[in-house]
Symmetry: C2
Subunit: 350 residues, 2 copies
C-alpha cells in the first residue's frame, strides 16, 4: 500500500538501513554506560522486545571503557551517541561502534567534524547526522525561518560538507518535539537528499502523550513512504519504545511482529465482560510470534463479520462466545471458556 | 498548519459538527442502557474527561425507557446507536435523541430507512450514516472491490437515498479495523460528499495497540484536513478513548485541552531519575486546564534549548535541576525539589 521513498543503503553492523530494506526498529539505552553489565542487560531486553539497532550515549571519556565492552558483547549493532566532544566520536569509532551519531549543532568547527569523518572512514562505519530542534547551531537557531526549514537547512549543510570530503555513508535525522515541524522537515529532506532517513519525534513525552505524538508524526511520514529506521522517544523504559515502534509499523502494514488482535470497544450491546477477556488474550498472544489474526468481538453487529475475516475469532452473545476458524463458525462456548477455547483453535492452526 | 476540508454544518444538541467548527470529541457508553443511573454516571465521567457528544446503544426496545431518561438528564448531547431494528431509531427520535446513528448494512429495506428519515426530520435531528467493514450489506460485502471502495460506495449510495428524500442533515462515517482501508475510504468520501465526516478506526484493539492504530489512522486523516468529529475505539474504559482523542488533536495542534508536557526519553547522559519526575509532573498537570507548556529534560544536550521554548522548564544536571521561566534561567534546585519548584513557577505564571 505504502510506496517507499528510494534511498541509498547503509550497513550498521549486519543490519541494512535504506536501499529497499525493511524499516528498522531502534531504541536507546538509559543505563549508565560506565556500567557495561547493566547496559548489556538492557540491550538484551531490548533485543527480545524487537529492537534491531541500539544507541548508547558516551557523555564523557570515562564511559569509553564500558562502551567498548558493550560493543564487544552486544547482541545488537551499537551506535555511539556523541555530543559536544568530537574526540569521543573518534575514540568510539576505534572502540567498535557500528555507527556514530553526531549533532551538527554542538560538534564545533569543521576541522573537528573532519576528524570524526576520517575516523568513521577508517573504521568503515556510517555516521548519522542527527539534527535536533533543542540543539541547533546558533546560525540556524537565530535564523528568521520556520523551525522545519532550520532543521532541514542544518542537515543539508552538514551533508554537503561530508560529501565535499567524499564521505556518503550517511543516515540523516531532523527531530523536533513539534509533530508539524518534524513532518515538514523530513518532507524537505526526503525530496532533497539521497540518504536513508532515521525518523522520530524528539522529547515526545510520557507514555500516553509520547505514544500518540510518535504514532501521529511517524504515521504521517511512513504513510508517505518516508523513513528507513525509526526510534520512538518516550519518557518510559526503552522496551516500551520498541513496542510502540512495532505497533506503528503494524498499523500501516509495513512490518508485523507476532499476532494481530482485533477487538471491539464494547458498548451497551455487549453481554459478556469483554475488556478482561481481550486483555487476557493480548497477554497470552504476546508470547507468540505466529503470524495470526485474532478477533475478539462483543456482539452480533460487527462481531461475526470481523470474526470471519480473522484466522480465529470469537463473537460474544449473552454469556457465550461463538468461535470462528478461517471464517467458519466452529462452536459455542460459555463466557468463562472463551479464552481457553480461542487458544485451542489458535494452536490447531499451526 | 492543517488546512481543514470544507463541509456542511450539523447541530447535535448545542454542539456543531463541520462547517468550520472545531473538531468534536466523542465516545460511547458501555454500560447497560437499561440502567440509566450507571449510564448517566459514565456520561458525567466522560464529560469531565473532555467528551463533547456521547453515543448510547439501544440494543432492544427494553432499553428505550432508560435511554429517554439518559437524554433528559445527560450533560452531553446523546446519540442513539441503532442496528437491525429501524423501529428503535424511530422511537429514539421521539425519546429525545440529539442524533441518530444507523448502519446501512443492517437497517433493511428502504421503506424502513424512510421511516427513520421522517422521524429524524420531525424531531429536527441529524442522522449519522455509519458504515462499518464488519457489517456491510451483502451487495457490497460480496462485491469484487477493495474494502475502501466498498465502504465508500455503501455510504455514497445511502447518502443518495437520503438526498432523494430531501434530507441532508447528515454526518457520514466509514470505519474498518484496517488503517489503510479506513484512510482510503475517508479520502474518497472527503472528495465526493459535502457532509461532515465522523472518523474512527473500528475495533482498533486494546489500550496500546488501539491507541497506536487510532493515532496513526486518524493522524493521517486529520493531517490532510479530513475529519470533523472523531471517536477513538479502544477495548478499554471509554474515558481512555477521550484522553487519546485529545492527545491526537494536540499532536497536530488542532485543539488542546490543558497543559502541554515536553519530556525527554532519558539516556546514559541523564544524571537524575527522570521517569518518575516526569510522571509526577504529568499527574499533577492533569488537574490543570491552563494553556501552559512545560518541559522536563534530563541533560544539557537538548535540555536548555527545549526548556527555553517552554513557559516553564527544567533541565537536569548531576542531582540538580536548572529551572527556566519564559526562556530565562531562574534558579537551581536539588533533585528532590524539582517537581515542587516547577509547580511554584507554574503557579507564578497565572
Amino acid at each position: 500500500m505504502v510506496q517507499r521513498r528510494e534511498s541509498s543503503s547503509v550497513l550498521v553492523g549486519g543490519v541494512q538501513i535504506g536501499g529497499g530494506a525493511l524499516i528498522v526498529v531502534q531504541s536507546m539505552t538509559n543505563t549508565d554506560t560506565r556500567n557495561a553489565d547493566d547496559t548489556l542487560a538492557q540491550i538484551r531486553r531490548l533485543a527480545e522486545a524487537g529492537c534491531e539497532i541500539v544507541r548508547v550515549a558516551i557523555p564523557h571519556a570515562d564511559a569509553m571503557e564500558g562502551f567498548a565492552r558493550v560493543c564487544e558483547q552486544s547482541p545488537l549493532p551499537v551506535v555511539a551517541d556523541i555530543h559536544f566532544d568530537y574526540r569521543l566520536a573518534v575514540e568510539a569509532a576505534r572502540c567498535g561502534a557500528a555507527k556514530l551519531r553526531i549533532n551538527p549543532g554542538n560538534i564545533g568547527d569543521l576541522a573537528r567534524v573532519d576528524a570524526v569523518i576520517d575516523a568513521a572512514g577508517e573504521a568503515g562505519i556510517p555516521i548519522r547526522i542527527g539534527v535536533n530542534a533543542g540543539s541547533l547551531a546558533a546560525e540556524y537557531a537565530d535564523a528568521d525561518l520556520p523551525l522545519a526549514d532550520k532543521l532541514a537547512a542544518s542537515a543539508r549543510s552538514f551533508c554537503g560538507h561530508f560529501e565535499s570530503r567524499g564521505f556518503t555513508d550517511i543516515v540523516v535525522s531532523a527531530k523536533a518535539s513539534s509533530v508539524g515541524a518534524t513532518v515538514d522537515a523530513y518532507r524537505m529532506l526526503a525530496a532533497e537528499l539521497p540518504y536513508p532517513l532515521h525518523i522520530g519525534i524528539t522529547e515526545a513525552g510520557t507514555s500516553l502523550a509520547g505514544t500518540v505524538k510518535s504514532a501521529v508524526g511517524l504515521g504521517v511520514l511512513l504513510s508517505e513512504g518516508i523513513g528507513d529506521t525509526l526510534r520512538v522517544s518516550l519518557t518510559a523504559p526503552p522496551e516500551e519504545e520498541v513496542a510502540v515502534a512495532w505497533q506503528i509499523l503494524a498499523a500501516l502494514d509495513l512490518r508485523r511482529r507476532g499476532p494481530e488482535l482485533i477487538s471491539c470497544p464494547t458498548c451497551g450491546r455487549c453481554e459478556v465482560d469483554l475488556v478482561p477477556i481481550a486483555a487476557e488474550v493480548e497477554r497470552r498472544l504476546k508470547a507468540s510470534t505466529a503470524n495470526v489474526k485474532v478477533a475478539v468481538m462483543g456482539c452480533a453487529v460487527n462481531g461475526p463479520g470481523e470474526a470471519r475475516e480473522a484466522d480465529v475469532g470469537v463473537a460474544a452473545g449473552k454469556g457465550v462466545g461463538l468461535l470462528f476458524r478461517h471464517g467458519e463458525p466452529v462452536r459455542k462456548v460459555p463466557e468463562a471458556e472463551i479464552v481457553s477455547a480461542l487458544f485451542e483453535e489458535i494452536d490447531r492452526l499451526s
